[in-house]
């Protein structure tokens, strides 16, 4: 039954939201801190645990994979509902900070990623 997969996904999502809300309260931030991230980690762990024990059949997995495939259409709808007008009307400060800030952030991605990689190979022996 596909709905079992969707229900597992929904369960992980809601528990993740709960953890995120509580964590937000704990650190004094209004809103959800990493709720989606916690839900993702839960789904990965629960999914592989259930697969190993043969508890997650092909049908329930299809239910999860359907929502996985709906991700891009959802993102397209999300793009179509952005406040593009506000972005274009924020004035020069907004444009300068938006463009330069984003460009500088992009530039640092390969630098940090490179710093992460050599360390990884050292650690592999220790942790595996």
């Amino acid at each position: 039954m596909k709905i079992y997969g969707v229900a597992i996904l929904a369960g992980c999502y809601l528990v993740g939201q709960l953890i995120g809300e509580q964590l937000g309260k704990l650190v004094g931030v209004s809103g959800n801190v990493g709720g989606v991230g916690f839900a993702m980690i839960m789904l990965i762990l629960l999914g592989s645990w259930m697969k190993k024990r043969g508890l997650l059949g092909a049908e329930p997995e299809k239910g999860i994979l359907f929502w996985n495939a709906m991700y891009i259409p959802v993102v397209i709808a999300m793009s179509a509902t952005q406040n593009v007008k506000a972005a274009l009307s924020g004035g020069w400060v907004a444009v300068a900070v938006g463009v330069l800030g984003t460009a500088i952030s992009f530039a640092f991605v390969p630098i940090i990623a490179k710093m992460a990689k050599p360390k990884q190979e050292d650690k592999d022996d220790l942790y595996l």
Binding site: G20, S79, N83, V97, T102
Partner: protein, 247 residues
């Protein structure tokens, strides 16, 4: 015409499925016939989405009565739900492997955006600490900006600017990620996690990675989802106090 409008507004979500389906079809056709698949179809579809958003107002195209369903389909609930679903294909070993780099990139990303954004604003005439912090926070995401601004009591026009910055960032990330993916080596889970941590704007990261390689989505989304929370935590407190010492 009235009947059609009535049916559509009654069934707005179902109409959104049809509408997005048509956008995807057209985009993949353009990608294949006009760009020889050099530009990914999903990147074109997302770009068309942004162009359509211009026809609306605050909620983009969803401000037009026929397209209200787009706000539900593209809203945060279904977005987060489908992001979680992408985790089904992710490997926990890869996540553990990039774990430290991912956490480091989160702190680095928030602090970098804050100071870069604030400094540019400073030289453009926003020289008080509150405006520096609010605009710097806006350079994180469009949620961190207004939360920081209202926590510090910044003026409303500065808060508006901080929202605009965050939205510009989100849109730029969406458009630019597929264009510069090769240059920044965005083709493996570790880099995707670092990318999500440094860039941080969930909508931008989610859309940007979708256009590059669907398999990387869960890794980037995983770190990005912590970014706004961390930004809301650091910007109005620690980072503001640091700035306050200097200006």
């Amino acid at each position: 015409m009235d009947v059609i409008e009535k049916i559509i507004s009654k069934n707005d979500l179902v109409f959104a499925f049809l509408f997005v389906g048509i956008i995807v079809y057209v985009s993949f056709w353009i990608a294949k016939k006009l760009t020889n698949n050099k530009i990914p179809g999903s990147a074109i579809a997302i770009f068309i989405g942004l162009v359509l958003a211009y026809f609306g107002d605050k909620k983009g195209i969803a401000d037009l009565p026929m397209f209200t369903g787009m706000a539900l389909l593209g809203g945060s609930m279904l977005r987060d739900f489908s992001i979680v679903a992408t985790a089904m294909g992710a490997s926990f070993t890869e996540i553990k492997r990039a774990g430290v780099a991912g956490i480091f990139s989160l702190f680095f990303g928030v602090i970098l955006s804050f100071f870069v954004g604030g400094t540019i604003a400073y030289f453009m005439g926003y020289t008080d600490a509150k405006s520096f912090a609010t605009i710097g926070a806006g350079a994180c995401t469009f949620i961190v900006g207004p939360i920081t601004g209202s926590a510090l009591g910044a003026s409303t026009d500065v808060i508006a600017i901080s929202i605009a910055i965050g939205v510009i960032k989100s849109i730029l990330v969406t458009i630019c990620t597929p264009l510069i993916a090769k240059k920044i080596g965005l083709n493996n889970p570790t880099t995707a996690m670092v990318y999500g941590g440094i860039i941080g704007t969930t909508s931008g990261v989610a859309a940007g990675l979708a256009a590059v390689d669907e398999k990387l989505v869960p890794y980037g989304a995983l770190t990005a989802t912590f970014y706004t929370g961390l930004g809301c935590l650091l910007c109005p407190s620690l980072l503001y106090y640091i700035i306050h010492i200097f200006i």
